[in-house]
């Protein structure tokens, strides 16, 4: 695949050392290139990339509010269309909070209306920017500041909201999951999403050193562990056709993934086994 040497996301941004979100944005923009307009929901990415009066973006970028990134993108797409600029790509970067919780209705509307845009959810599995509060995308068992572990609370006691499947239920032409640790797979999916006519949704898992609690050097390793243990599955749904795009040669124990992170430190062996059997059930169904 032809990828640009050029960077469209400048250094000097305020992301934590070892940030996964910025890796995801860099890789996506390398595929999409210069003729792209980006929209962000409120979140880590918006805050770290645009400390006024500076911006890290080398392409036009817009942020309005937490809940309406998809609505803003719809407007931008419609405006470009009316100007005849149909070769310009419109891409949204929303965090898991801005996508699965706060921005869900705007996103659902944009998908329903069939705007020609790409929505990339960079999923770090909690509201990291405001101090690690749980979101709908926080996985079962994770300790966050609003789902803490302790005598009275176990940590997050609800399963992770299945965002990509909610998007697939809209009948949009392209839905995929991805991980920053598998850049080729992710970039192929971004390319497909750009080529498809109509809305495309990519759910990108990206480890967060601050919120997950691990050494910043391990960001890529953690993303890899999620996929190799079957905790995060890479697939795509093209015109309704479901396909797993990466299968680990030998699926590793979920414990390897859980034990590497502070947010799962409190889990007992029994709880870890419960998570393992949940992962097993999904992986067996998908023949992973």
């Amino acid at each position: 695949m032809e990828i640009s040497d050029k960077e469209f996301f400048a250094p000097g941004h305020r992301a934590c050392a070892g940030c996964g979100a910025t890796i995801g944005v860099r890789l996506a923009l390398k595929v999409l290139g210069e003729n792209t307009v980006a929209i962000s929901a409120t979140g880590c990415l918006e805050v770290i990339s645009t400390p006024y009066p500076e911006t890290a973006w080398e392409i036009p970028w817009m942020h309005v509010a937490f809940e309406n990134a998809a609505a803003v993108a719809s407007g931008v797409e419609a405006a470009l269309k009316s100007q005849g600029k149909t070769d310009t790509t419109v891409v949204v970067f929303g965090g898991d909070g801005g996508t699965a919780d706060i921005g869900l209705q705007a996103l659902s509307g944009a998908m329903e209306r069939g705007h020609n845009l790409i929505y990339i959810c960079y999923d770090n599995e909690a509201y990291m920017n405001t101090g690690i509060q749980r979101s709908g995308a926080t996985p079962y068992g994770a300790s966050t500041t609003t789902s803490p572990h302790g005598k009275e609370s176990f940590g997050e006691d609800k399963p992770k909201k299945n965002m990509p499947m909610i998007m697939a239920a809209h009948g949009v032409p392209y839905v995929a999951t991805a991980s920053i640790s598998y850049p080729e797979d992710f970039m192929k999916k971004v390319k497909k999403a750009a080529e498809v006519e109509g809305p495309a949704y990519i759910h990108l898992q990206q480890p967060c050193t601050t919120g997950w609690g691990y050494n910043p050097a391990k960001t890529i390793e953690l993303g890899r562990l999620a996929v190799e243990t079957g905790s995060w599955i890479l697939y795509e749904i093209e015109e309704g056709e479901f396909k797993v795009t990466y299968r680990p040669i030998q699926r590793r124990a979920v414990n390897e993934y859980l034990n590497a992170q502070k947010r799962f430190k409190h889990l007992t062996d029994l709880e870890k086994e419960r998570i393992q059997s949940h992962v097993d059930a999904i992986c067996i169904e998908l023949k992973i």
Binding site: P11, R14, A17, T22, P53, E54
Partner: protein
């Protein structure tokens, strides 16, 4: 017209902010050992390793992902 919101007219202007000062450990890349696999270029959160494998220390925050992901151990983190 009442002006709402804010506009930044200089793309990539965060370059004014040299995040290299955040660093405690500095990656040193040995070009003799390097096999040009591009892992470090792809995975750098700052995008501050260029295609000639020169690291821009003005911006490198010293996260250590490049050392971790180098398959031939051509990058070593050294204390500043």
């Amino acid at each position: 017209m009442v002006s709402v919101g804010a506009a930044v007219k200089e793309p990539g202007s965060t370059r004014k902010n040299k995040t290299g000062s955040w660093r405690t450990f500095k990656p040193i890349l040995d070009k003799e050992k390097c096999i040009e696999c591009e892992n470090c270029i792809m995975f750098c959160p700052e995008g501050c390793i260029n295609k000639d494998y020169d690291i821009d220390y003005d911006y490198c925050k010293g996260c250590g992902i490049c050392e971790e992901e180098c398959p031939v151990k051509a990058i070593k983190m050294e204390r500043e």
